[in-house]
Symmetry: C2
Subunit: 277 residues, 2 copies
């Protein structure tokens, strides 16, 4: 694996592959890699000849009171994991390589960005959309892979890729979970042993709500039960527990394809999760 | 010349050229073509193997009280001019081909978009930036050409292409003028014979101001003289007459590369123009 830090070096590598007729997959990450990321790398390798992984903790997607400074950074371990995963190029730019002085452009998505996590993290999805647009245009891959754990992010990326005519296929990959159901996340590192033991209640609660709704149960009642269970398990602030249309993320109506999504705080960690209905 | 209306057909043509190793130039227009546009086509042909021209009157860059409905549309004449100019493909989509139902993405540029025309046409440059991003990503040309007549637009496009890492060279082409100095513009069609006779005063006034400033004359005094001359010539509302830094469009300081830019109303037409200092 080769690690590159600047866009020109990255593009030279990719152009060499293109001249050989090789296909390219992109897996953008913020590092602090876990099995969920490795599943993305694995899937990427099965779908394309060459895999580019990126590690960039994107300041634009963190709010002023969020955990940008504290976000786990483990580049040595990440590097070893990516080598073992057979990734061909790691693109790990510093902040000025992505946002040089004078940078002034914002990519925003109306509607999808304003609900759920967007309502609780103003500007977050503008930051995501802007950096993902940049990474996609830096690499111009055939496919790019994103985890369903960040489901709203995945829907926003699908929307912006279609809207801006970025020539790439976006592949969503199911969430990878610990044995007890907790969605793998770099932010799980913030949990104490006790919090870690309580955290799977989030997944259990939304899974139960999704099953109730799938059976034709009352949506509001199912969500209320889930909220209750999450509170009982020792979560602090519950940002939302919602049933939404699986694509538009608007409030779910009976008969539509749906998704239950939740975000709640446990100690220092803000955990999110979602399941299909 | 082949005219195509949808992105898939457009991309098939371009991919065929790419397989032959041909280079591609893009010239985006809103139609109602004049000699200024033809200069862009000419330049494009000298710089690339194949030329794609687009005609799309972009609703997103017109304000609610602006001239979207009235904007001149002359597709038959445009078509003949493009054939004569040796353009290879005309891309002339309808509005839903560019903005299908559910479209929700906006490309915005802070700072550059807020001054001059941006201050007088809220949302205008977001509309420009969004559609130009789309056209660039639909065609993925080697170069794209824009007239300096829309100087602020050109600076915004340079900024967004750099910021989003769109792999294209942006070529600015000097304004083409009538014999009496009036900048060629599709909106000149709005002028009555009398208004047309008075309109060149805009260019004369900013040229004189630029010459004064270049000689070391007081910037504010030179602009005041220009405003006065434009008013005297029978222009109605003068939106702005400003001397700005040639790249950032911030107020000009002595010794910096500069540009004098102006916008003023003459009858139904809002005319803009600019010159280097």
């Amino acid at each position: 694996m080769v690690a590159v830090r600047d866009v020109d070096s990255l593009r030279r590598r990719i152009q060499a592959w293109r001249r050989e007729g090789l296909s390219v997959a992109l897996v953008p990450t913020m590092g602090a890699l876990h099995k969920g990321h490795l599943t993305l790398m694995d899937r990427a390798q099965k779908m394309a000849d060459r895999v580019v992984a990126t590690i960039f903790v994107n300041p634009k997607q963190f709010g002023p009171r969020e955990d940008f400074a504290a976000y786990p950074r483990r580049e040595t371990e990440d590097f070893e994991m990516l080598v073992a995963a057979g990734v061909h190029v790691l693109f790990a730019p510093d902040v000025p390589a992505i946002y040089p002085p004078g940078f002034a452009t914002n990519v925003g998505i109306t509607g999808l960005s304003d609900v759920l996590d967007g309502a609780h993290r103003p500007g977050h999805f503008d930051g995501v959309a802007t950096v993902v647009t940049k990474l996609l245009l830096q690499v111009l891959p055939d496919i790019a892979l994103f985890g369903e754990k960040d489901y709203q992010q995945l829907m926003i990326i699908r929307r912006l890729v279609a809207d801006l005519n970025i020539p790439v296929d976006i592949i969503g990959v199911p969430t990878v979970r610990e044995a007890d159901g907790l969605a793998m996340s770099s932010r799980n590192a913030y949990l104490s042993a006790d919090e870690r033991a309580r955290a799977p209640a989030l997944y259990k609660a939304i899974t139960a709500a999704a099953a109730q709704i799938a059976k034709g149960g009352d949506i509001a009642a199912a969500l209320a039960v889930a909220r209750d269970a999450i509170g009982q398990a020792g979560f602090g602030t519950i940002d939302y527990v919602e049933a939404r249309h699986a694509e538009t993320l608007q409030p779910l109506k009976a008969g539509e394809p749906g998704r239950v999504l939740a975000a709640a705080h446990m100690g220092r960690a803000r955990l999110i999760d979602n399941v299909t209905i």
